[in-house]
Symmetry: D2
Subunit: 365 residues, 4 copies
């Protein structure tokens, strides 16, 4: 069934396999007259690109995008914007060895059961490589949002159990600066150093680490629809659609379950201009599924990378118990959460762009 | 924008306000020939009904359903099934006092900003009363699923920081029995007793507690679609659409972020019939967004009830700072999580029914 | 599969069978602050109601609506509006006789093949009675549109081959007055008289007639989306979803196929205010699927009523060739097109309300 | 708003402008294990390609497709199939002259009003060139359908008022052979000759002709959903989404409006195997919006090509009345209907593929 799309009004449809010809995305529903250049998209792709630091996979992808449609004289036209990223360094030879076994922590078992066929090269469609298309599309959403004063910043909050300190959510500029100073995209320097050590250790062991990403968005009041399209429901769906994610929480999140109502409720207050706003922000930026205007804050849990070099047990496609020993030359991230930072930010932007268009339908005018 | 629906193929559309004429649901896409009676729906509604135990709101709702369409000679026909629940004990007088202030932790601020109008009686459309319609629809989904051997059981996992012990996920019958023995729907007796004490305490204080619900489903391999309709993405969206929810996690969830790959990966094994299955189930029942056949396990965090009797601060609609003191006669749950147990189960059933229909579209036949 | 809904942003979901408990509709996505009363809906239902004139079925339906939700203090709130119409005069005894045969021109054959079950009473879900729900929903759409200066008028253009003369499309008020003076909703008096004679004749014969309805809408430029959501594509889908329809054409329609480009192209001109507009309107109000601002004009073909009193041949459900002789007491319209006038108008309003919301998403602002 | 997609379960999303970099399509929801080659798609594109005969535009497009994703070892995998067609002969110089005027019969007026920007080169997104992407996607749908014994054949039924004789709808093989023998895709030889003369005449005059296409499909009983997704509603929407279409009719169509019920009703009969089927097929293959198993038959009206060489009147973008004289070197079809034959067939296949998947959701199994 058609399900490779995300969003209702501002919608992306992605395609492509990890080691196929190309991956790409069609962005349908972007309003007209938004300025957009190919360089803006390429810059964003660089951040997600593997091979940048010792903390990500050594696979080298150029990841330069071609804009196939939807832009005229440097601006969006309202027509669908198709973006194409060709696969360059698709060395699938290392996958031949493991194509006949069910890979622990991977999707070839479930895909084969569901479809009866699986493009095993690099994980095919189930690969995190698909997220490059999301990042490219996210740039278009961000360009639309920035014109409305809406901005997001994602960052690494925890890795391997090392938790960073809480950040000031009101100053996005500073938060972004601190985030991009860190090779791990973690705005807390001390935590970054501890995380680097932990990563170095598991790399040596041939093992991997999980992590938690956080994201803050500055946005106006009124985004998100009641009931089934609550802002947090749309975000949760967006985040859990990213490979390797295991959880989502908004504001106080799971900690809220141990709080009392008198601790959790945010009072309302008046600002200097006489506008109403929540005095505190335990809620994390929504009430009744609709943004309050306070910073939106949510966190996403990632499991440790499934591809590790330690020996494991599994079963072959011919239904025999076999040991599972990945090729020593296989290339993987020690912690997938790190490279997911721009993906989280892109998905948040896509959700918010959709909500802005939804919001335009709400009131009589 | 139209957003009061859930599901793509097996779809519900709900309507109704807390203190309006009625609430209800249209179930569109239920396959034909499923047996269904009004008694089955009424039984399910009883579980969610307020006024049952000292641990839920004293509001008395008959909550009996009328089947308006879609059933012929005791069976579904493929036509939409409309279910109507009239509001009986809709005493909205206690709301008149608070209609002119922004209620802390409530949605009247965001609704008023978004729509310019708000049905303040009992929270209107933002009330948890809407979930009765979900529970009714969930019965239809469950009847469809049971014919395919698919079953879910939700239960209280933690309240106010009191965590229950892990349950055996393989025996749903026993889990359900233990769950329904507890007045709090918590299968752990000792934990139940501690939770009751904690609830009694906050009731006295006029305060409230948060909680965590868990849900287990037995289902075949192959449910859930890749990328944006991953089973966990659909579940996350379903769960975060329930009022008062703050977080969702599947399997290891946020704990996965502190684990190593070698700890997290489930090996594959063969059962006695020679079928492949995960030997362990850290993942919680999915790989690549598709069910593995192992029990699906997820948890949902609920904030403490926003309606408390303690004095708070707020702002009036006429933009003045005012104290907020709810009427002493107002009727609320000390912990909303408890009554959400059948809601979680219903939403899980609706997601799975949708996935079963989606699955039928995947393979050539 | 869920398919009992129409529209994307301004969406209706209908339910109910001809001789079941009730029929109804949920309108989801109507903007807030639109004034709406139950009387407005009841007035519209009266026009569609059977038993009004000798030219429609003698079945007597009160067809009064109950508003179940979505209205607060006389206005829409943005929440779903549920409308309920109970079936009053549902005498299904006359259907018992024919429940065991495939009815010529009817849907029980195809429903039984598709679903394995059929609510045979009065045609069940396949009955034109479902269109009462559309008419009720259409009132809500019209109230929204009128606030934007958008209006539609549907009328009988031809019955049984008797073609009325072309109407002035610029004066909707006069067109509507002439339409409602005619017992057949045909603005051409002479044609009305001829049609009445033709209808009287087939009634005597126990036979029925087909007809063509036309509809004019006054609307601004810019409604309709390119490619797959062209205004004419949305209208065609809306019209062919009405029972007994066989064709749709916009503007010149099928006659365009015999014209030359030089005859068909509308030149552009300037009005007194210097605004651009088509000088003529052969196109019928759209170019490239988007409204030009000229009156929208389309026609819909209806087959003759399938329920006739003449003897026919058919096959029984037990697969025997049998004669088909409807009960002499069965109640049907001699020409279904007549009662479809408000249905056409309602569906046009629903399409345009959807397009107005779609249009709000198109430009950057 | 996102609207460049067609279909619900078997869905296409198209992109690209006439004289941009490329056009293309993403097919999402195609079941796995369907064999597919690039040659099959290229063959289909050849039929639609301009420059083939004197009766179509002299623009030369190679129109060879690149499969970017979704195929593995020669078969579909369930993943989205992206097809790319690069624009080769995109000479947009002839459009510069007319970029500053509203083109009669064209969409630049409505696009500019809607979006405030228009890619004027070759009509941009509003160009019929977009239909090449539909034809490419249609091949994939056809490959899926053929495995189920479902086939369609579209042909020219009338051009410039010259009506061909009715065809035998039961022998698709013969109908297709006769269709492809004709340079105009008209299975009636005598009519073809008359049409050719009429086309030659208007070409000399610098004018154009309209036409009617017909399409027959062989399919099983049960396709199409009740009410809003009636098979004819889906087809009407599909057909009216094709540029230059003005009308759609199924079976008896507009002629039904002049018939009596006793003439129009198809009796049911038994075949030799004891299966029920309509004895005649006035209905054109559906009852209640669901296929009867009899050949589906529908017709689509096309307006004459809007681009003609005769002088016309119009208004400039700077709001001055100006003459409109297209460059003598501009390249256009004298009758767009001809090249639309494969487009009609592709859209029919896409509708039916969607209906097959919808049908799988209908019954309990």
């Amino acid at each position: 069934m058609a399900s490779n799309f995300f969003g209702q009004l501002f919608r992306i449809t992605t395609f492509g396999e990890s080691h196929g010809t190309a991956i790409g995305v069609v962005i349908d529903g972007c309003p007209a007259l938004i300025p957009l250049t190919v360089e803006e998209i390429n810059s964003a792709l660089k951040l997600r690109r593997p091979g940048n630091t010792p903390y990500t996979s050594p696979r080298k992808e150029e990841d330069t995008v071609e804009i196939l449609s939807g832009i005229f004289e440097g601006k969006t036209t309202g027509a669908p914007i198709a973006l194409l990223i060709r696969n360059q360094d698709a060395d699938s030879s290392s996958y031949t060895a493991i194509k006949d076994v069910y890979r622990p922590g991977h999707a070839n078992f479930t895909y084969l059961e569901k479809y009866g066929i699986f493009d095993y090269r690099g994980g095919g469609r189930s690969s995190a490589r698909e997220t490059a298309a999301r990042v490219a599309a996210g740039v278009v959403a961000k360009k639309f949002l920035i014109s409305l004063g809406i901005e997001c910043c994602a960052f690494v909050d925890a890795i391997g159990g090392i938790q960073s300190t809480p950040q000031n959510l009101k100053n996005l500029k500073m938060l972004r600066a601190k985030t991009y100073e860190s090779p791990l995209f973690c705005p807390d320097k001390q935590a970054t150093n501890k995380m680097i050590k932990a990563i170095d250790l598991v790399k040596e062991e041939g093992d991997s680490l999980g992590g938690i990403l956080a994201c803050v968005c500055h946005l106006p009041v009124g985004l998100g629809d009641p009931v089934y399209s609550k802002l947090e429901a749309l975000l949760a769906s967006a985040m859990l659609s990213i490979p390797a994610t295991k959880g989502f929480e908004i504001g106080s999140g799971f900690a809220a379950a141990a709080m009392k109502g008198s601790e959790h409720n945010d009072s309302f207050d008046l600002d200097k201009k006489g506008n109403v706003h929540p005095a505190t922000n335990v809620a994390g930026g929504t009430l009744g599924g609709i943004s309050t205007g306070a910073p939106l804050f949510f966190r996403v849990a990632f499991k440790p990378t499934s591809s590790i070099k330690k020996p494991q047990k599994t079963v072959s496609l011919s239904k025999k118990k076999v040991p599972f020993e990945p090729s020593p030359s296989s290339r993987h991230d020690p912690c997938v959460a790190i490279r997911a930072v721009p993906v989280i930010e892109a998905m948040a932007a896509l959700v918010l762009a959709d909500c802005v268009l939804m919001q335009r339908c709400g009131k009589q005018c």
